[in-house]
């Protein structure tokens, strides 16, 4: 008799971890396969199984995989850096972005300057632009950049102000040496 093709013969990672029977309607089963036990363990450690379940029930089914992946990402970040979590990664990326914007402005200005002078008789022969983004050892204060506006959510919650406040502490704290996770599919 057909009909139960999606039924897993073994428990999902969540049910194995929680030591319970994995039912056909298990909300975790499609997203926490049994061959990825660490993924659920991390998510459970940070968020708790019941909270994850509540979040998943809230979102449409077609978005649950992305939800689980982003929760796993956040959990990983929090376990790596228990003080700043994802905010540490955001702070580093913001700093990198600021350096790149600076370097791009310098490079463009130099190029424009040379192009403008190319008709003149006397040239100032300079070295190529000194670029901050190429020298990872430099600590650059994070200036205000226009990314902040898009992170302002509704009803007064300013993600921008929170990021500023937390990220400056994060940089001073020195957390998050590296967080080279690939982009999540959006």
């Amino acid at each position: 008799m057909k009909g139960h093709e999606h039924r897993s013969s073994s428990s999902c990672a969540a049910c194995k971890f929680l030591k319970r029977r994995c039912t056909e309607n298990c909300i975790f089963a499609p997203y926490f396969r049994s061959d990825e036990p660490k993924k659920f363990a991390k998510v459970h450690k940070v968020f708790g199984a019941s909270n994850v379940s509540k979040i998943l029930i809230e979102v449409p089914e077609e978005q649950r995989e992305d939800t689980v992946n982003s929760l796993a990402y956040e959990a990983e970040a929090r376990l790596r850096d228990p003080v700043y979590g994802c905010i540490g990664a955001i702070a580093l990326l913001q700093r990198k972005m600021a350096e790149l914007q600076h370097d791009l402005a310098v490079a463009r200005a130099r190029l424009a300057g040379y192009a403008a002078c190319s008709g003149g008789a006397i040239y100032a022969i300079s070295a190529p632009p000194v670029l901050n983004s190429m020298d990872c050892s430099r600590n650059v204060a994070v200036p205000s950049i226009d990314l902040h506006d898009r992170f302002n959510c509704c009803d007064g919650f300013s993600a921008a102000a929170s990021i500023d406040r937390i990220s400056s502490e994060s940089i001073r704290h020195g957390g998050f040496a590296d967080f080279g996770q690939p982009l999540l599919p959006l």
């Binding site: 979040i55 228990p82 972005m97 490079a107 130099r110 040379y114 190529p128 994060s170």
Partner: protein
């Protein structure tokens, strides 16, 4: 002894002991802050995370947890990871633009050095800069 309960103990409807771990971090004046954190992480998980940290770092941890919880409530699918993803994309684009500009710079210097030997030095320096990649002073 705390005469008033902290936001956490008020929310959880329990007594607020003098050594309550939440009390310094979730004052009664901002009940929503704890409510958001509890909704996403759960009080038990938060208490456990905070207990593992030295006392002087707990305020920062509470702040970042509060931020992430709020992001997750606003966007249940991506939470604050959306910000990371956007930044990564923007960095990639900025790096591409920078590489393009440097390449244009090199082409320009090369063409000028052909026209005018004074620019030979700048062209060679620019070329070796692009070829060598990032400077490694203290890496």
């Amino acid at each position: 002894m705390n005469s008033t309960r902290c936001a956490a103990c008020k929310y959880l409807r329990k007594k607020c002991p003098p050594d309550c771990i939440f009390s310094p971090l979730f004052p009664a004046s901002d009940p929503q802050r704890f409510a958001h954190i509890h909704r996403i992480y759960g009080a038990g998980n938060i208490a456990r995370m905070l207990q593992k940290l030295p006392a002087h770092l707990r305020a920062q941890a509470a702040e970042s947890l509060s931020f992430e919880a709020r992001c997750r409530i606003e966007d249940p699918v991506y939470g604050c990871v959306k910000i990371i993803s956007q930044l990564q994309q923007e960095i990639f684009m900025a790096q591409s633009q920078l590489a393009k500009t440097l390449a244009q710079f090199q082409v320009f210097c090369n063409s000028l050095s052909i026209a005018d030997p004074q620019f030979q030095h700048a062209a060679e320096a620019s070329s070796s800069f692009i070829d060598q990649g990032p400077r490694s002073n203290h890496l």
